[in-house]
């Protein structure tokens, strides 16, 4: 039985017209296959081992500690001693949770940021804000590069690539950035940084606070 709003003429017209919706380009088979192969090659190598997770957690906790320190510091705050104790307790209690999510969270945030940056490369997104976000991520990247986690050559290479891309984005000039953005995007594509990054994100469901991984 035909539903109330069904109209075969409209349905056919709509179907015909809708073929223009997001009309696909020819499939870039070879480019994608190369990136899939490379990502699969590195996937089994960039596994965050337990000691690496602690190192990453240490970097995250350091950043967290700086944040808590800033938060607890203030003109009418507690004495330095009691404040320091409170911060230490906070960090101790958070460290166990932090190491579980720190690596995934950092990698997921960076992956989301770079995916959106690349997708928005030709749009008029706020360059100043992107630069600030890149600087935030760059701080964590550099903490990780200085940690034992970077002793793994593959992870160090990935962190090095991320440091370069994030530095470039953080230095974008809001007044003249079209060409710079294109160059950054080209560089990301050539270094295959996004597939490598995704390979380093642990598979399977991740905690909600990490906003999920692709």
């Amino acid at each position: 039985m035909m539903q109330e709003h069904e109209d075969p003429k409209f349905d056919q017209w709509l179907k015909d017209r809708a073929q223009s919706y997001h009309s696909p380009l020819p499939t870039p088979r070879e480019e994608m296959w190369k990136r899939i192969e490379e990502a699969r090659r590195t996937k089994h190598v960039i596994e965050l081992r337990p000691w690496m997770r602690w190192a990453v957690a240490a970097a995250a906790v350091l950043a967290l500690g700086i944040g808590i320190g800033r938060w607890t510091a203030g003109p009418v705050g507690p004495s330095p001693d009691s404040g320091g104790t409170r911060v230490a307790i906070e960090i101790d209690s958070l460290a166990d949770q932090a190491y579980e999510v720190a690596a995934t969270q950092y990698l997921s945030r960076t992956e989301t940021f770079l995916t959106a940056f690349r997708a928005d490369a030709n749009r008029s997104a706020n360059t100043g804000r992107l630069a600030r976000q890149a600087r935030d991520l760059l701080t964590t990247t550099q903490l990780m590069l200085d940690s034992p986690a970077a002793n793994d050559p593959r992870l160090r290479s990935l962190l090095g690539d991320l440091e370069l891309v994030l530095t470039q984005i953080s230095l974008l000039n809001p007044l003249e950035n079209g060409r710079d953005r294109d160059l950054i995007t080209d560089g990301m594509n050539q270094s295959n940084v996004l597939p490598k990054l995704r390979s380093a994100i642990p598979a399977g469901p991740v905690p909600a606070r990490t906003q999920g991984a692709l």
């Binding site: 539903q3 709003h5 069904e6 109209d7 003429k9 409209f10 349905d11 056919q12 017209w13 709509l14 179907k15 017209r17 809708a18 073929q19 223009s20 919706y21 997001h22 696909p24 380009l25 499939t27 870039p28 088979r29 480019e31 994608m32 296959w33 990136r35 899939i36 990502a39 699969r40 996937k43 989301t112 940021f113 995916t115 959106a116 690349r118 997708a119 928005d120 490369a121 997104a125 706020n126 804000r129 995007t185 996004l194 597939p195 995704r198 390979s199 598979a203 906003q211 999920g212 692709l214």
Partner: protein, 180 residues
């Protein structure tokens, strides 16, 4: 070579079989990703991620359904999750931009049919849009859509019907085109 043999060879670590399986399915995966994302870079990202996941998890493919059905379940999961992340990111950007742009809104000229249709499809709820694009644009059956999205066939049909009804309202200005 039939597909089950190809899959068995991929499981055994045959890289040529991996490539053959990729070649057999990549067009449809990329097309769907592009139709849903509307962006080449995102579509490529989603396609790559789909195949990386598929190869990694091929051991869990039991063959109860067609391989293409299983693959499109991964595709829709990857694409929809990825688009949600990009949307959240863009929304945060837009929220902040909006705060600075109150009072500067401009009235745009009436767009043409193509632009109006695109806007109307973009504005459909996610579930309606996904079913509409898969069925009316890419030609998937309701059975394939139901399997890929993990919903009943009837739900897919109902969502398509509601999507069309919403589009009919949104495009009412062009009614003359389909009534003549």
């Amino acid at each position: 070579m039939d597909e089950s043999t190809l899959i068995a060879r991929v499981r055994a670590g045959d890289s040529a079989a991996e490539r053959a399986l990729y070649d057999a399915h990549v067009d449809r995966v990329y097309r769907l990703a592009f139709r849903l994302a509307g962006d080449d870079a995102l579509a490529q990202d989603f396609t790559q991620e789909t195949f990386i996941r598929a190869f990694d998890r091929l051991g869990s493919f039991r063959g109860d359904a067609a391989f293409s059905t299983w693959l499109h379940t991964i595709t829709t999961t990857v694409v929809l999750n990825g688009l949600r992340k990009v949307k959240r990111f863009r929304q945060r950007e837009a929220d902040i931009d909006d705060a600075h742009e109150i009072g500067t809104m401009q009235r745009h000229a009436e767009p043409d049919l193509k632009a109006r249709l695109k806007k109307a499809i973009d504005e459909l709820p996610e579930g309606y849009r996904t079913v509409f694009v898969m069925h009316d644009v890419e030609g998937y059956t309701h059975e394939e859509i139901g399997a890929a999205l993990g919903v009943e066939t009837g739900t897919s049909k109902a969502q398509l019907s509601r999507a069309r009804a919403k589009l009919r309202v949104a495009l009412a200005d062009f009614a003359g085109e389909w009534t003549t």
